[in-house]
Symmetry: C2
Subunit: 107 residues, 2 copies
DNA sequence: TTCTTATTTCGCAAAAATACGAAACATAAT
DNA sequence: ATTATGTTTCGTATTTTTGCGAAATAAGAA
């Protein structure tokens, strides 16, 4: 409980991870990361959940900064937020690519 | 709601992501990914949370398969579960490294 | 055997996530 | 002005997560 062990990067990474912590949201991000964009209705046809539920998942991804929506009436086009996606890439990459030492080197 | 849009990989990635969806757990995994192992008590000294709370975070990481503990009385040595960590690396890597096309290619 | 140590489990409470259907919204078409 | 369309917000219920302190546990030391 000393100075500050949990950094802003830890917090940010946790926020991104939490947003990815549901299969539906993983599915959406995967789709968006290959296809650049999509409409809520198209997703709704694929996924076995209510549209209102899907909308909430989109809202979460949006509030985590991973996607953004632009209105194209009567639809809404959802795309990846590239800047933050890059940031997520960096943070996850840093965490996952760190190479654990051979073994048994506890402090 | 057709055949199966959400795959086992989506589920697995979501499970890993969810486990990483808390700053304390990110901190722990970062520590373990550089330092190979640690004891619950050492973490407890660093982190501003009750020991029982820390224990629950460790339990969650364990049940997500990201870490494992071996008893060394009176302590417990926690290490990364390398096999699953590799799996997480693959899954996250695949998702994050996919290159979105230039723009505007909705279906 | 009794004490000590490191950690976990238990019991609880508060907050957040998940999900649904109904209703609301904003615009474009009629 | 009314209707149609795609999506979101609202209200609600259920489940899960987060957090704490107190009690339990398990083994080694005294």
């Amino acid at each position: 409980m000393n100075t500050k062990f949990i950094t802003d990067d830890h917090e940010q990474l946790a926020r991104f991870a939490k947003a990815l912590g549901h299969p539906v949201r993983v599915y959406i991000m995967e789709l968006l990361s290959t296809q650049t964009c999509c409409f809520s209705g198209d997703l709704a046809e694929d996924l076995p959940i209510a549209r209102s539920t899907l909308s909430q998942h989109l809202k979460e991804l949006k509030s985590a900064g991973l996607i953004q929506g632009t209105i194209e009436y009567p639809k809404i086009r959802y795309c990846i937020n590239r800047e933050n996606w890059e940031r997520a890439k960096e943070l996850f990459g840093h965490l996952l690519q760190s190479t654990p030492v051979t073994d048994n080197q506890c402090k």
